[in-house]
Amino acid sequence: MTAITLCLTAGFAGLVAIGFPFAIAIALCVTAALLVADIEPAFLAQSVISGAQSFSLLAIPLFMLAGGLMTAGGLSQRLVDFAGTLVRHRTGGLAMVAVLSALIFSAISGSAPATTAAIGSILIPAMARAGYDRAFAASIAVSAGVLGPLIPPSIAFVIWGIVAEQSIGRLFLSGIVPGLALAAGLLVMCWVHAKRNRVPKLPRATLAETWSAFHRGKWALLSPAIVLGGIYGGVFTPTEAAAISCLYALIIGLFVERQLTWRGLPDIFAEAMKTSAIVCAIIAVSTGFGILVAQEQVATRFAAWMAANIGEKWLALAILNIAFFLLAAVMDELAIVVILGPMLIAIANRFGVDPIHFGAIIVTNVAIGMAAPPIGYCLFIGMAISGLSLARISRAIWPQILVMLAVLFLTTYIPEFALMLQPKGR
């Protein structure tokens, strides 16, 4: 093992373990590698700057901004109201509203934390008032929030598309069926919970009520159509779609719904840029890390070792999924994707996994990691909204995690499950 490889592997693991932020730990490892190998120091600045120069990456802050503007502009409430008129009268109806609303909101924001925050802040208190166990209410909002990375547009797919150099549009399509399957599974969980706990049903909405909610929610409901229609109609790229989504939310929030104010905009922008910078800073500093990993052939050598020692594709995928699940218990999921991306791609290539199918597997893992204890990001949002401890939400969320693992199993071992919506002749 060379000194550079040691810096990039053991050095990185050690720095992260003692509490250095991922972005700082990566930059320190690159710096150490430059110093031990006597490489031009300007490499660090050059790689960080070039890492921040990807047009596709712009979609990340913009989709986060779109989610923030929609929530602040009251569009999330309108989505929830409309979804409520459709299913609230069923057994577990209000919990189902959370799932349906998250499904629609996911098609706007592409972010699991944004979806959890938007839906959870409205529905966790409402579900608790309606007789649901508060921990279940929080856990269903958290689980529904992870539809964000699966349903297009998805920030996680954008990142994987950049890391793996794959079509972001095609990756988006590969998340739809797993996302819908997860939503269906969560709806069943809502029904089972309400049945078991005898949660009272809400009255069925009248046709006039449904129409009124649809009418009030029409601007919010139009947003996914504009974003997805624009991308798949060839009108704009995913990055441009994110910008149009922000513009749309701004216009509706400022001039139609009038819930946004000019004075409030800087805070919404600052919050979105902060959340985006957390991810994008890791991506930017990882550029130099990736170059050094490629130069040292760390990823390809590990993939070759795996191929020699494991052999079977199904077993390799199972090991990858288990490793991802365990790693996500101690590490940010998107950081795993960025930092281990080259290694994951090398393994997928070795075992002949379709790159789009592999993208769907990775992003399904990311989605699960965001909800899984102990450090799923959405869990913390659910805790903040519900005021419950991590232990209580963690206990309540396990049945939903099992549903997610079932979706991961289908995505991993039935490629058509993720690929059935891909255009013919690809």
């Binding site: 509490g19 932020p21 930059a27 300007a42 660090l44 120069q53 990456l57 800087p266 979105a272």
Partner: protein, 168 residues
């Protein structure tokens, strides 16, 4: 000394945050303009994408530095949290000092890169490439400032201990 550094860091952080909001708005405007002129005026813009990417670069570089000051970069805290509070404060100080040193190295590395590439212009707009490449030394200097300020902050940069957990 500590107070002066704290004041400088506060002003630098406020300016960084404000600049990020402004460039984010410009980035959004440039991309919306790009779509508008392509479809409404049937005349693709040659500068908007490059401008948007330039603006985005500052949201990342500025965000990298600002995250050091505000402590919002993602990290594993299992080991630090296992330490007693006194030891943890010193561990945080050490982390912040190393981060400040990294910022210093990035600033120096950025200045070298700035010198190497000076005189070039961007492909579409033709802006001096120094505008882009200056972001690395600026972000590095800010990281050094913010890291140092946190390291010597009286009482350390840790949030105050929680007053019981009402949520538990």
């Amino acid at each position: 000394m500590t107070h002066a550094l704290g004041a400088v860091a506060r002003v630098a952080a406020a300016l960084t945050r404000a600049s990020i909001v402004v460039v984010a708005a410009l980035m959004l405007a440039a991309l919306c303009w790009q779509v508008l002129v392509r479809y409404v005026f049937a005349s693709p813009s040659i500068w908007s994408e490059e401008l948007a990417v330039l603006m985005f670069s500052w949201t990342v570089m500025g965000g990298l530095a600002l995250g050091v000051r505000e402590g919002w970069h993602v990290r594993l805290t299992l080991l630090p949290e296992a330490l007693p509070r006194g030891a943890r404060i010193w561990a945080e100080r050490a982390t912040d000092l190393v981060t400040a040193a990294l910022g210093g190295f990035l600033a120096w590395s950025g200045l070298r890169f700035y010198d190497i590439t000076a005189g070039s212009v961007s492909a579409a707009i033709g802006y001096p490439i120094e505008v882009l490449n200056a972001m690395a030394p600026v972000a590095g200097a800010l990281m050094a400032l913010f890291g140092l300020e946190r390291a010597i902050r009286p009482g350390g940069a840790l949030p105050p201990p929680p007053q019981g957990d009402p949520a538990a």
